[in-house]
């Protein structure tokens, strides 16, 4: 598969450029799905000024790559791309970006959802809400665990 790429980014993600790279990876691509996870101005009702994203260098890339690899085995993808921000992220900014390309839409949709569900529950990233106290770490979401379960 050409156009495969996993990246941890300290600065803003250029989602337009990332999408283009995926869409143009092959001439028989008929469907491109993108997902952007965006920093909301509130986290469970409380206003936040920013999120701080910590990650486990090395393991983070490795985990995402293995999920992309698994998606590639399950669906006929022509390209896939994941970019995950770390560090300080303000409301409105993109935290994570996933793009998948295939000949048809079913594969592109499913693969993007699959990658996101796994990334949420097993890629080593942790969010802390800025403006909260020292330990204002965001709690893990049970709904995300259930979402990941459905692919098993």
């Amino acid at each position: 598969m050409s156009g495969e790429s996993v990246r941890i980014a300290a600065g803003a993600i250029d989602t337009a450029a990332e999408t283009r790279a995926v869409a143009e990876a092959a001439s028989n691509i008929g469907a491109v799905v993108t997902f952007s996870g965006i920093c909301r101005a509130d986290e469970k009702g409380a206003q936040i000024s920013a999120l701080y994203l910590e990650h486990y260098p090395g393991m983070a890339e490795q985990e995402i790559e293995s999920h992309v690899e698994e998606a590639r085995k399950r669906w006929p993808l022509m390209a896939a791309r994941v970019v995950h921000r770390v560090g300080r992220i303000e409301p409105g900014e993109t935290i994570v970006f996933v793009a998948t390309a295939s000949a048809h839409r079913e594969a592109a949709f499913q693969a993007a959802e699959f990658i996101m569900d796994y990334l949420k529950t097993s890629a080593p990233f942790w969010k802390r809400a800025e403006g909260g106290g020292k330990e204002a770490w965001v709690d893990a979401n049970e709904k995300d665990d259930r979402a990941a379960e459905r692919w098993k």
């Binding site: 996870g37 910590e54 393991m59 995950h84 935290i95 890629a123 969010k127 770490w137 893990a140």
Partner: protein
Amino acid sequence: MKIVYFAWLRERLDKTEEEVDPPPSVQTIGELMDWLKTRGEEYAYAFDNPKVIRAAIDKTHVRPEAKIAGAGEIAFFPPMTGG
């Protein structure tokens, strides 16, 4: 044996990593957490609820039953909240 900590574990212990030398009776991740808990107040606080703590050996997720023999780097962290 190198251990690395992330998120609120790192904050509660006030360290990102350390070298430890557990006794030979400590063979699994679960046992390592129990042993770490005895090392002081901040450890007791950090490992207060081991059920919510996840671990990795050499950057691969492992369960509490996993053997630690031969591990290069052991990581402890809270449930992940990326994406």
